[in-house]
Amino acid sequence: MLRLTCPYCGAAADETELTPGGEAHLTRHGPGSSDEAFEGYLFLRKNPYGVHFERWRHAHGCGKWFHAARDTRSLQVFGTYSAQVTRPPQDIIDRIAATHPGFDWEAGQ
């Protein structure tokens, strides 16, 4: 039963007030894309026991989608941030690197 702070309204939202949206920072591949690219976009998901970037919606709240960076092993939440970015904010990446030396967001994409 996670608790995540919605970056839009600032509420500490109970997991039962949220709906999960799976992996964050996917790039959409539409008409004209290769089968491989489309498969990766639609089906292939990371499932790490460790650092993960996720999409959540504050459904029983302000209704906004947001992103969360957290460690599925330690349950640490490095931060929540706008869903309208293509890269996590640097301060969150820095916070991850503090507990996961050598963490490289780009390399994981």
Binding site: M1, G30, L42, L75, Q76, A83
Partner: protein, 1002 residues
């Protein structure tokens, strides 16, 4: 025999007798008794039969770890099985019955299993009842279920109330012994807001029983003083009878409060499930004493030494007159001394250690108790009650050198910290060789959202078993928890004093070199009837993983969760495998720590509040008319309105005919209505619908399809363009929230550059479909709007007032008839509905339900989301290619529909089906094809998606998906029925009725 002592009993009130019944026999106890104490006072040592062998079993413990005294409590709707007598507070009129015996506790037919015990080892059921397969369901399982298992489930409705409560605290302290009290006090004094909970009805835990001195006063006095101090603080909340059930992610804790179990006539809910968010948690959950594994250690009268002390000191109950104490540590000597204090006999203390010279053994010797070191119990005499013990060498092969007559045995194999709550959320354990126990590893604590530990263990739960260490440890835990909350504890904690104790010595099998026959009588897990020999067998058969052994032998399963059995079982397994205990490791401790009731889990969600039922503004009218409802999502929609003497089927047929011949009313309020506005609204809708919406003119409507990114058809509905930059999108009845969320997701996470607002207006409007040849006449009578063919053409909408009510009228049809859907403010929906009924009385107006709606749409070949679609169907399968734009560069699902499988010409496609004899095809039936598939099943070539009896055509009609279906008109397929026979049906056009659309074009 067991009996009540003349004096003493710190928890009972001798002036307040309480009557109760056990197995139909009336008994008496006192206020303050547990059921277990009262049973002992009435000489009911034997309280049940064991799970598998039906061996007589007696009380072993005095708290939550009790494995045997599980009884059925209460009667009728309040009957509850598997309740621990040790946790049941006595009240006047309590009714309890023993379990797992037939026909009676004293004479039990199933006890024959005990004599067959050597044929029922671990894995017996797995190995024996494999074949023949058919026997499992009809022979083996019913017989095994009758003979095994715990109590019976109640059959009547539970009349009690239950509820939940959400609490948010700085610090939750679980456990109200001296460690928990001290931790709570220190933290509260530092400024933290504290919730302290205790599972029993009393504060103080073991310390008052064990004669501990705290801060220079008897523990009981210190506990009373500390509780009073805590109660006086407004940042502290205290709760008794509340069990810390489980610790979960991010400081989420479930706690089970029992409010009226001890006072059934009190008002209010019976149980309350607390859902707590704690920033920090201190678990001060104590320790549980371990049994010793000697032959016959399950004979009634063999009890944990600490439990025996509890019964004597707390409730003035003597489990026996002559008690032999057998131990591997100093703590059990307290029991011998307590028994002496109560005037009872202790003929011997058998200490497996070679020496016992600490203060407690010296006291025992000084008071004349024979202390025999290096000795062990090698045999227990008696079956339903201890009659004596055979004594031998602790390290020997089990020969009895002498025998002592006694009627009780107090055993102690050392202590195991209660690490369950620490472990639930990932806390790891470390092996403590000195005390032969697993205790929390402070370097591997459960971590919270900040990545820092959020559970701190205090006192004996942390392995600090001695009272002095216990309070010191509690102080340390309080400092750590307070620091994490930003508070500082400066006050020095009080000191606890108790006699020093010499180290214990692990004893896993007693005697050390016992024979195989003796090992078959050494019980590790009383509740699940697992013996030393079972674990050894499992090891021999290759179950090397502790998790596998647990499941194979059932050691520590079910409600026990390893409370009594865990360490002893692990030690035996480790020994059998020639490994060390830390290498073997421990099984996972899972919530709940102790069982909680289904009532507490459900809370208020029962009866009318089981789930939300969504009602339209006309719901009460439907109910008054005797409508039969069906669930559509959480909505309740009228299925049909049967009249007196009419069956449902007859009502449906009448409603269809009346609508086609006169005029029908449908409550369509449940249709989703999403307002989409903004300068980019048209562009947005072009991306989410498969068809082109930007070309729709204001004032006009268009049927649209929505697909998922997977390409599959998700929802459909009519889109009305309200103005250049606003659209009203209708969704299916169950789909409004889902589609709204879908639109928001794309707007917020992919196309956030679009200036678009989406607002769910579903419930702002009541919507009534006025359908049939006389629909226009009816609406004209209401007055206020020109709804002529010229003023409002098919697929148009207009706004105005009807019968004085603001209305928006859409001329759309899902039935093939002349049809108007009228949206009015929800608050005036009922008035509009009534006005339609009044105005149309002489026109034959009558409401129709969802089944008539379904039949009429099927007669027209219109698809229904959820019937023709199931999440694997694309619009092209349904002949809806016309609604999938070829011009648009992109829309949600377009790329997916280009995949090879989606463009496969062999995909099943929509057709109509009619049986040759006019009967109705079974719903979901498959059309068989030649040959068999890889699993030896018939190949299939299609299936029925909708099937009805059409009153309009007087025959069965159906729609289905068939391979190459549209190219096979006239062909006859065979559909498999549930009775194994096939039913032939011909492929026809899905439009059965008025294919030219003349009926609506008037």
């Amino acid at each position: 025999m067991s009996f009540r002592l003349e004096t003493g009993g710190r928890l009972i009130d001798r002036g307040a007798p309480r009557r109760f019944a056990f197995d139909g026999v009336e008994c008496t106890g006192f206020a303050g008794d547990t059921l277990a104490a009262a049973l002992l006072a009435n000489d009911h040592m034997m309280v049940g039969r064991s799970f598998k062998y039906h061996r007589p079993r007696g009380l072993v413990a005095s708290g939550v770890e009790e494995p045997n005294a599980l009884v059925g409590l209460g009667i009728g709707g309040r009957f509850e099985p598997n309740q621990r007598a040790t946790m049941t507070e006595l009240f006047d009129g309590l009714v309890a019955e023993s379990q797992n015996r037939f026909p009676s506790l004293a004479f039990d037919v199933g006890a024959v299993n005990a004599r067959l015990a050597r044929f029922l080892p671990a894995g017996f059921y797995y190995k024996t009842f494999l074949w023949p397969r058919a026997f499992w369901k009809h022979v083996y399982e019913p017989v095994i279920r009758q003979s095994a298992g715990l109590g019976q489930a109640p059959t009547e409705t539970d009349p009690d109330a239950y509820e939940h409560f959400h609490a948010h605290v700085d610090l939750l302290v679980i456990g109200g012994g001296i460690a928990g009290l001290q931790a709570a006090l220190s933290a509260a004094q530092s400024g933290a807001q504290v919730l302290l909970i205790e599972q029993t009805a009393h504060w103080g835990g073991r310390a008052p029983v064990d004669g501990v001195i705290v801060d220079g006063m008897p523990a009981g006095a210190w506990v009373a003083q500390t509780v009073a101090a805590l109660q006086a603080m407004d940042n502290v909340h205290l709760r008794l009878r509340m069990q810390g059930t489980g610790v979960f992610d991010h400081g989420y804790v479930l706690a089970h409060e029992r409010l009226t179990d001890h006072a059934p006539d009190a008002p209010g809910p019976r149980h309350r499930l607390w859902k707590i968010r704690a920033q920090q948690i201190v678990t001060a959950t104590g320790a549980i004493e371990r049994p010793l594994a000697f032959p016959g250690n399950d004979v009634p009268g063999v009890m944990l030494a600490s439990a025996m002390r509890d019964y004597v000191v707390n409730w003035a109950v003597a489990p026996g007159r002559r008690t032999v104490v057998v131990t591997n540590n100093d703590d059990a000597y307290r029991t011998a001394l307590a028994l002496l204090d109560a005037g009872l006999e202790v003929p011997a203390i058998l200490d497996a250690r070679d020496a016992a010279d600490g203060p407690l053994p010296q006291q025992a010797r000084a008071r004349g108790i024979p202390v025999r070191t290096g000795r062990a119990v090698v045999k227990v005499k008696g079956t339903t009650r201890v009659k004596g013990v055979g004594i031998g060498n602790a390290g020997g092969i089990g020969l009895a050198t002498d025998t002592i007559a006694c009627d009780a045995v107090a055993m102690s194999g050392g202590w195991s910290p209660v690490v369950h709550l620490w472990s639930h959320c990932g806390g790891k354990l470390t092996w403590d060789n000195t005390h032969a126990m697993f205790r929390p590893d402070p370097d591997r604590a459960p971590t919270g959202a900040d990545g820092q530990p959020f559970v701190h263990v205090a006192g004996s739960a942390n392995g600090a078993l001695h009272a002095t260490d216990c309070l010191d440890d509690a102080a340390r835990a309080a400092v750590a928890a307070a620091a994490a909350l930003g508070h500082q504890i400066t006050a020095q904690p009080p000191r606890a004093d108790a006699p020093a104790e010499a180290p214990m010595q692990p004893v896993w099998v007693m005697p050390g070199r016992a024979s195989p026959a003796q090992r078959m009588k050494m019980f590790l897990d009383y509740q699940n009837d697992v013996k030393v020999s079972d674990v050894q067998l499992a090891a021999r058969e290759g179950y090397e993983s502790v998790e596998h052994t647990k499941r194979y032998t059932t050691l520590g399963m079910a409600t026990d969760q390893g409370k009594l059995s865990n360490i002893n079982g692990l030690a035996i397994l480790a020994d059998s495998l020639g490994a060390e205990i830390p290498q073997v490791g421990t099984t996972t401790f899972r919530p709940p720590y102790t069982p909680l009731t289904f009532g507490a889990i459900a809370g208020e969600a029962r009866g009318d509040l089981f789930q939300p039922v969504r009602k339209t503004p006309m719901h009460d009218w439907h109910t008054e008319q005797g409508a039969v409802f069906e669930p559509v999502g959480q909505w309740r929609r009228p299925y049909a309105y049967p009249r007196k003497g009419e069956s449902r089927a007859q009502a449906v047929q009448r409603e269809v005919s009346n609508t086609r011949e006169n005029v029908g009313l449908l409550d369509a309020s449940t249709l989703g209505k999403l307002l989409v506005t903004g300068p980019d609204a048209a562009e947005f809708l072009d991306r989410v619908y498969t068809n082109m919406m930007s070309t729709l003119k204001p004032g006009r409507c268009r049927y649209g399809l929505m697909c998922s990114e997977n390409g599959f058809l998700m929802d459909d509905g009519v889109v009305a363009r309200l103005s250049e930059d606003s659209f009203l999108c209708h969704t299916t009845s169950g789909g409004a929230e889902h589609v709204h969320a879908h639109l928001e997701e794309w707007l917020q996470t992919e196309w956030w550059d679009l200036k678009v607002h989406v607002i769910n207006l579903t419930e702002q409007f009541a919507q009534v479909a006025v359908v049939g040849p006389k629909a226009r006449v009816l609406l004209d009578r209401l007055g206020g709007m020109d709804l002529s063919r010229e003023a409002l053409s098919f697929m148009g909408w207009v706004e105005g007032e009807l019968a004085g009510i603001p209305a928006r009228v859409y001329r759309i049809s899902f039935s093939g008839e002349l049809s108007f859907e009228v949206a009015v403010p929800a608050g005036q929906g009922r008035a509009f509905w009534d006005a339609c009924l009044d105005a149309g009385a002489d026109l034959g107006v009558a409401p129709y339900g969802t089944e008539a709606l379904h039949i009429m749409r099927a007669e027209k070949g219109f698809i229904m989301i959820g019937d023709e679609t199931d999440g694997t169907v694309i619009p092209q399968d349904l002949g809806l290619d016309w609604a999938v734009s070829k011009k648009k560069a992109d829309f949600i699902g377009k790329r997916a529909q280009e995949r090879v499988h989606m463009t496969d010409p062999d995909r099943w496609k929509l057709v109509g089906l009619e049986t040759l004899d006019g009967s109705v095809l079974p719903d979901g039936a498959y059309a068989v094809d030649d040959g068999l598939n890889a699993n030896g099943q018939c190949n299939t070539q299609g299936r029925v998606t909708s099937t009805y009896h059409s009153p309009t055509l007087g025959r069965g009609i159906a729609m289905g998906l068939v391979r190459h279906g549209p190219d096979r008109m006239g062909e006859v397929l065979n559909f498999m029925r549930t009775d194994g026979r096939t039913q032939p049906a011909r492929i026809v056009s899905p439009v059965f009725y008025d294919p030219e659309g003349e009926k609506q074009n008037v």
